[in-house]
Assembly symmetry: C2
Homo-oligomer: 141 residues x 2
């Protein structure tokens, strides 16, 4: 049984999860990539490194963001967001990194080239629409 989550339930799911996936599309290619994120009710904030996804999101800032949690056979919740990519710089990037570091203490990205040698990119996805669903097949059995 597929249920639609309320806006509050969708919001709660986005706040509680740690790993989500960004979906982007440019030049005929669709690309889905996992990220660690923070969500404040209006924006999803991510720190990553330069690469394919940053190039694609700059080319086409209309992106999708997804989280899901599998809670056992036939039971899961998911949220799907449509939004717009915005790259952060200067003080905004610093504040976002601090917020991410506070959320993931000991696991926060530093604003310097990482072990990969690539520059850190801080971005947010400004949420235009967020929908959520729950499947609770297990409860029927």
């Amino acid at each position: 049984m597929i249920e639609t989550l309320t806006q509050e339930e969708t919001d709660a799911l986005l706040r509680e999860q740690v790993v989500g996936r960004v979906g982007c599309h440019a030049e005929g290619l669709t690309y889905v990539v996992p990220v660690i994120y923070a969500y404040d009710g209006a924006m999803i904030t991510v720190a990553t490194v330069e690469g394919q996804k940053t190039r694609m999101m700059r080319a086409n800032p209309s992106v999708c963001f997804e989280v899901d949690v599998y809670e056992g056979p036939g039971r899961w919740r998911s949220a799907i967001v449509q939004g717009t990519y915005e790259e952060l710089g200067g003080e905004e990037a610093g504040a976002a990194l601090a917020a991410l570091a506070a959320r993931f203490s000991g696991d926060g990205p530093a604003r310097r080239p990482g072990a990969s040698g690539r520059e850190t990119v801080v971005f947010r996805i400004v949420v235009s629409e967020a929908t959520g669903r729950a499947v609770r097949r297990g409860a029927e059995r």
Copy 2:
């Protein structure tokens, strides 16, 4: 530290995971949605219901498929697949459903309208490229 998985490691990750995400794009919209799947080394097989993703994948069969596993602070593996959507019918759909049901005993989709009232759609993604990555930041600390 971001490492590239070998083809064997990427393949193993795709075989061991249960939930993945399909990314598709049509008419300017990018959409990422979780699915339960099976992988046989060449194709990803999914049973779902009629809806936005099936409409979009029929319109544009070039899709992305992603799995990830978060193994603790700073440690994860992910695989990203590029492939082509193919809808299954007849005996192929029946065989695919049986394989999915065998993998997810007690959780397999039946080939009938589900509790949602929507028709089941069985499809596969024929893999053209699969790449994998591991982040093992935790090991450095």
